[in-house]
Amino acid sequence: MVVEKIAVIALYTTIAMFVGILFMGVGRKIVARVHNRVGPPVYQGFIDIAKLLTKKTNISHGWIYDLALLFSMTGIMLTILFLPIGGVKLLSMEGDAFLVLYLLAIPALGFALGAGASGNPNAAIGVMRALVMMLSYELPFVITLIALMIYYDTSSIAQIVEMQHAKWAIMIPPFVLAAAVADMALQGMLMEAPFDISTAPHEIASGPMAEFGGKHLGALMIYKAGTIVAYTTLFVDLFLGGGVVMHDGSVLAYLANFAVWFILIFLVFTLSLLINTSFPRFRIEQAFKFYWKYEALLAFISLIWVYLMVIS
């Protein structure tokens, strides 16, 4: 039984990473089509990573700089382990939403350490912006998370997915508002255009990644692919029922759930890309004010609305 569980976990994690890398190519294709361009082939993500990993010379600024490579990839895969993917509970019975929230911090902090160790002032400014962005989008996202937890009276994502079998969370009135807020927070998490402040290529030479090249950049590209899958799956699990359509344990159910999950995260990712193509880049204090003033207010309204519903 255990071996079968491990096999399923390993299979789903690798599939999730492949889907992530695929989405990078698909993402560039969608953005290109919006720009009325042809855009790269869909499998461009795989080629980029293959090229980076087969670079002949690689530079390193010390063991802390390499730590970034290890931490970022490990952290993001660990997060995917604790997220139910397509209805399959990988390890998500063992941990809950708070754990996922803090697991997402490991790659961010490891990445920040590596950028700091590279000694480039651009990298430090980029990391400052990334951490401020994290502080700002975390407030509304956390408020919506608490609203969900209070409503479903559980903090484990797997149970939230189970409770959404009959009715997706987004269909309940207060959670429509919460989902909108969480989607804007998702925009910040994925570092898409209005909020790609920390890796701004024009202002600070692509921020924290200024000194990353060759295999380090390849690992960070895999991390970026992982974040695409992790954050969109988190959103889908919390609000769109985690893509669970059929509940009997048959192979068909696995496939159906997987397909629905794939379509849902694709839709969420495309939505964030469309926002990406239609907005210029904010300044960091504008983004901070945007999240802490307007988003937090909306999130708090939905939280109170849910609280009133629950105690009545």
């Binding site: 530079i59 600024h61 941990g95 911090a105 490991i106 160790a117 000694g119 903090s155 484990s156 200024a210």
Partner: protein, 608 residues
């Protein structure tokens, strides 16, 4: 057994008073500080099963001047003792090479230890207050060594305030329950009024730097010697929480408050104060430039979490609070020792002046890294389990105001933890000439980091340790095995996280190993093509006012702040004492006139 420990501590304290060289004094105090730790370990097996009672057999009566002091160990005092006394040997090991000559640090630290030992053992309020005053006095002298007027004044003012609050509380308790013995007070707890409890809690809150009463912390933490500050922020603040734990739970203060207000509003208020101090402490922390002030504000923030746990009061919250207290004791003392080691080598405390210290002091950097991961509650250290319990407690009780603030304070912790790591250790290599910290310092730091890792994998041991404490204090416990904590809402399996991480690290490790890499010197950095020498004279260390964008957004709201209130108070006190100087001119003629006038008033009053 207790007399032996007290004797050894006091003899060592008096001995080190006269020893000039720091080294010998450090060795003596190291041995002396190990004594209470041995006693604590010896009592360990008692508290697996022993029921709670205030007179366990290894108690002792301690007659001084006709008043008998009752000393006995209880289960929760034992837990706090483990936490506080296991800090000391590593701190003294650290200060072995930190102090060349004995500037009074060692004797008064030993007095402080005897005082803390006495507080934890006290079983009646008289001994409790006696040792509380001894602790306040010895820690005050240790602050005086720093010779910084503002730190001394603020510490004096606040420790006097807390002593007065506690004394009045004790007096009220005595008047209502007629006795000072803890066990008797617990028996007739119904006669205890609410005001005594509120006063006592406020008195203890001063010691653990909760928001309105925290003004002394930034000044004292940033001026006193690092080893003392490590014990002050790691250990002494926990003594404040011991007092609060005793008053609210052992002496069922919380129940009395509930009956009086017939709702949980009072303890909820304590939780709100804790959450606000966590939030504002974090905001103030990441805008600080002085490393020790930053650590001071972060200490206030982390202590706020414990107050939230005390405020909520459920078994989940209390387990989280005690676990957080344990973690905070260790990672905060490591951080202050790291600040001491860095200052020992570079002589600087400002983050903007430090930079690139980590390249030359790798072990200190590793210790700081572990402590920061514990502070930021990242799941690879035991810090996460504590905060997770607190979040679970807050959400299960549906506190919708406290939980978001606590979570944001948790995320805010990442900001100043990166500020410490980047500002001090990484970035531009500006300290090429320094050497690694001496061996005893590194040993001290790593000894303190060890428990953070042990309790990562097995939080269950920690929960067993506090099991008897929670049960005896009338709070239930939570179901847990060695590595899985199960609460009503969800479960947290540390082993799954650790093994998952090991397995998932393989692909990353493969990529790292399979491609050779060339170490590149710091100068070979991309600066738009300009060679580093060209920029030689401009600092490339981007750590100066690092979070300026948010500072401009947040600062207007924080402008008022508690400290400006206290500085106004401080100036007012200065003016009052100035005015009084006019009366006490010190000239004998004036005094004779006063006597005559006074005499006439008395006579007039008698006749009239």
């Amino acid at each position: 057994m207790l007399e032996l420990i007290f004797a050894v501590l006091l003899i060592a304290a008096f001995a080190t008073l006269f020893i000039k060289s720091g080294r010998i004094a450090a060795i003596i105090s190291l041995i002396a500080s190990a004594m209470p730790l041995i006693a604590v370990v010896d009592w360990a097996n008692d508290f697996g099963i022993k029921a709670f009672s205030f007179g366990v057999e290894n108690s002792m009566d301690f007659p001084i001047a006709g008043i008998t002091m009752h000393l006995s160990i209880t289960s929760f005092a034992w837990f706090f003792a483990v936490m506080v006394f296991s800090l000391l040997p590593p701190i003294f090991l650290f200060s072995y090479s930190f102090f060349e000559k004995n500037n009074g640090f060692f004797p008064f630290m030993l007095f402080l230890i005897t005082a803390v030992f006495g507080i934890l053992l006290a079983s009646d309020f008289l001994t409790f207050f006696f040792f509380w005053e001894l602790m306040a006095a010895s820690s005050f002298i240790l602050v005086c060594i720093s010779r910084d007027k503002k730190a001394i004044m603020s510490y004096l003012a606040f420790s006097v305030l807390s002593a007065v609050l506690i004394l009045v509380g004790i007096a009220l308790l005595y008047s209502q329950s007629g006795t000072l013995l803890f066990s008797d007070i617990v028996l007739n707890a119904d006669k205890v009024t609410v005001s005594a409890i509120i006063l006592m809690v406020a008195g203890f809150a001063v010691k653990s730097a909760l928001m309105p009463l925290h003004a002394w912390a930034p000044f004292v933490y940033s001026k006193a010697d690092e080893p003392f500050v490590a014990f002050l922020s790691g250990g002494l603040s926990k003594v404040g929480y011991y007092g609060m734990f005793f008053v609210l739970f052992a002496l069922p203060g919380a129940k009395i408050l509930h009956q009086y207000f017939n709702s949980g509003v009072a303890t909820y208020l304590l939780a709100v104060i804790g959450a606000i101090s966590a939030f504002i402490g974090t905001l103030l922390a990441f805008m600080e430039d002085d490393l020790r002030k930053l650590l001071a504000y972060s200490s206030i923030a982390q202590l706020g979490y414990i107050a939230v746990g005390f405020g909520i009061g459920s078994s989940l919250a209390m387990a989280g609070a005690l676990f957080q207290a344990f973690n905070h004791a260790f990672f905060k003392s490591v951080l202050f020792l790291v600040a001491g080691a860095v200052a020992y080598r570079t002589g600087k405390w400002k983050i903007s002046e430090l930079g690139g210290v980590g390249y030359k002091m790798p072990f200190t950097f590793m210790a700081a890294l572990f402590a920061i991961f514990a502070l930021a509650a990242i799941p690879i250290t035991s810090g996460f389990a504590a905060k997770w319990l607190l979040y679970e407690a807050a959400v299960s009780n549906k506190y919708i105001f406290i939980t978001p603030i606590m979570l944001i304070a948790g995320v805010g912790a990442f900001l100043y933890s990166f500020r410490i790591l980047y500002g001090v250790f990484l970035g531009e290599n500006r300290h090429d000439d320094i050497k690694e910290a001496p061996l005893p310092m590194i040993a001290g730091m790593f000894l303190l980091v060890l428990p953070l890792i042990i309790f990562l994998i097995f939080p269950g041991y920690m929960l067993d340790m506090m099991h008897s404490a929670l049960v005896d204090a009338g709070i239930g416990t939570i179901s847990h095995t060695n590595y899985v904590i199960r609460t009503g809402m969800a479960s947290y399996n540390t082993l799954a996280v650790v093994i998952g991480m090991m397995v998932v690290m393989i692909p990353a490790f493969l990529i790292y190993v399979l491609r050779k890499q060339k170490k590149v010197d710091f100068k070979d950095n991309f600066l738009a093509g300009e060679p580093y020498e060209f920029y030689g004279y401009i600092s490339m260390h981007a750590a100066n006012n690092f979070y300026k964008p948010i500072e401009d957004v947040i600062m207007p709201y924080l402008r008022k702040g508690a400290i400006s209130f206290y500085t106004a108070l401080y100036n007012a006190m200065g003016r009052v004492s100035d005015a009084s100087r006019k009366i006490y001119t010190g000239l004998s003629q004036d005094y004779t006139i006063y006597i005559i006038i006074f005499f006439f008033i008395i006579v007039g009053w008698l006749i009239w």
